[in-house]
């Protein structure tokens, strides 16, 4: 049985706007999945349903076999962590160390365990030398890593990242890739919403394309970028390398290494 599953889910906001219609998807442990699609396709609504922030209007969201309708958000969030797009919505402690530790302290975890877990999360997110720094003394792009560390430290089985690459430079994007690989290596699942197709091709094996409240395609990334119809309907562009390769008549290429091999 899948760890996280959406079964024929509809969702409408309180103003009557329907954001999702007949959406189904399932995630096993140890996967890295990218959710892609243009703005307004329903991506953020889908992940908020997974995290229990929203409850489906119809259908079911099952986390570890239990429907989210019967659980409080904090209960679901202990299993499915969600990092918001804007870190400033979350950060409120006066040092990065305290910020990362906050959730564990609230859960009354033993002090020595808190220290060890915070240190591990900070190291993974490249913040080990900033533990006493005020979060707002860091630039916006690095504050995002503070929120990722705050989610990781709670040890959720599934980690959801909403637009993690937005506003990040190359070293930070590499660090993000390392974090995703690290989380996957520990047997957990990472689900990421992103518009960065280069990042998608490099870091993810499976993709879910969404458009107009529906799932258009759920397949390996390479198959998605070969499907002209789906890309057109979802208004998605191939990665630049794939576009360049196609202009020379080479198909099935997504990364620069693949292009070099094909040439």
């Amino acid at each position: 049985m899948a760890y996280l599953e959406l079964c024929d889910v509809d969702f409408s906001y309180s103003n009557g706007f329907e954001a999702l219609h007949h959406v189904s998807m399932r995630f096993e442990m140890g996967e890295a999945v990218a959710i892609i699609g243009q703005n307004g396709a329903g991506k953020t609504t889908v992940v908020k349903l997974m995290n229990g922030l929203l409850k489906p209007s119809r259908g079911q969201v099952l986390v570890d076999g239990v429907t989210t309708k019967q659980q409080r958000t904090s209960q679901v969030a202990a299993k499915v962590g969600y990092v918001f797009q804007n870190p400033d919505d979350q950060i409120f402690q006066d040092t990065i160390g305290k910020e990362i530790a906050y959730g564990l302290v609230k859960k009354k975890v033993e002090k020595s365990a808190v220290k060890a877990k915070v240190a591990a999360a900070a190291r993974l997110c490249g913040l080990e030398d900033e533990m006493e720094t005020h979060p707002y003394d860091l630039p916006f792009s690095r504050r995002k890593f503070v929120t990722i560390a705050s989610a990781l430290v709670m040890d959720p089985k599934v980690l959801i990242l909403d637009e993690p690459t937005a506003g990040q430079d190359a070293p930070s994007t590499r660090l993000l890739a390392d974090i995703i690989q690290g989380v996957m290596a520990s047997g957990k699942t990472v689900i990421t919403i992103t518009h960065d197709m280069e990042f998608v091709t490099k870091e993810f094996s499976r993709g879910i394309v969404m458009a107009k409240k529906h799932v258009l395609m759920d397949a390996p990334i390479a198959e998605i970028f070969e499907n002209d119809e789906v890309l057109e309907e979802a208004h998605l562009k191939r990665p630049y390398i794939a576009q360049l390769a196609r202009s020379y008549g080479i198909r099935g290429v997504l990364t620069d290494e693949e292009l070099l091999r094909a040439m």
């Binding site: 908020k48 995290n51 229990g52 922030l53 409080r72 958000t73 904090s74 969030a77 202990a78 962590g81 969600y82 990092v83 918001f84 804007n86 400033d88 919505d89 979350q90 950060i91 409120f92 906050y102 959730g103 609230k106 859960k107 707002y136 705050s150 989610a151 709670m154 959720p156």
Partner: protein
């Protein structure tokens, strides 16, 4: 706001609200003032905002009115106060005073709530600009009106962000209070940040330029607007004559 009443020029509705408040404050007794609530409720239904008005009134003004009434009648001591039990007294003077205070609150709050529910901030700002209000004053009024829904949305986002990292925010009053305090930090910070960004955006769009502003948005004053404003003026003069002579 798309009703015939909603489309009236903001100053016409404002004149009417002002008249209702003045009449309520300076008319003796309390029945006329209490009657303002059903009157504005009826107007709200005609404007398509009936339920919204009713819910907002019950959840805010009605609570305040009940508290004032209870405190004035049973807690505050007057010369005619009769002891009932412990610190609770009953007073005829207190009853009259509370009716006087609460009736005026009900009347004024009903009028003001109706006005803000049937008039968009956009219309208000447009009317103020056309009436040559100072630009800074217009901006202050607009930001104040928009601040409450903005703060509420922002508070919800921050609360969601805390929930999504596994922090308990649902449950009893104590749990809610405990989560509300840490939430204030990011809320105030983001509001300051937004204000700074608004100021920069306004400066970059020539906010302080002395040139006359043009607007793509149009809202015209019709004959009915002039009619309402003149009628309000006549009724105001008639009221003055009645109260003074």
């Amino acid at each position: 706001m798309n009703s015939a009443i909603g489309r009236l020029y903001p100053s016409s509705k404002f004149c009417f609200v002002l008249l209702a408040i003045i009449v309520s404050i300076f008319t003796p007794g309390h029945w006329l003032q209490y009657a303002m609530f059903p009157f504005f409720l009826f107007l709200s239904f005609c404007s398509g905002t009936g339920m919204k008005f009713f819910k907002a009134f019950i959840s805010s003004i009605a609570m305040i009115v009940v508290v004032i009434f209870l405190v004035q009648v049973f807690i505050v001591r007057y010369p005619d106060s009769q002891p009932i039990w412990g610190f609770i007294y009953l007073s005829q003077n207190g009853l009259e005073k509370s009716l006087g205070i609460t009736s005026k609150i009900v009347a004024s709050a009903s009028a003001i709530m109706w006005y803000f529910q049937v008039t968009t901030p956009k219309d208000m700002v447009y009317a103020m600009e056309r009436a040559n209000w100072p630009k800074k004053a217009t901006f202050v009024v607009m930001s104040t009106i928009q601040m409450v829904p903005q703060v509420m949305n922002q508070a919800k986002t921050i609360m969601d962000a805390q929930k999504s990292r596994g922090i308990e925010t649902e449950g009893g009053v104590w749990i809610r209070l405990k989560t509300f305090v840490p939430m204030l930090g990011p809320l105030i910070f983001s509001l300051i940040q937004q204000t700074e960004e608004h100021a920069l955006a306004l400066q970059s769009r020539a906010f302080l330029s002395s040139a006359k502003k043009t607007s793509l948005y149009r809202l015209d004053k019709h004959a009915i607007d002039w009619g309402i404003q003149v009628l309000c003026l006549i009724l105001f003069i008639a009221f003055l004559v009645w109260r003074i002579f």
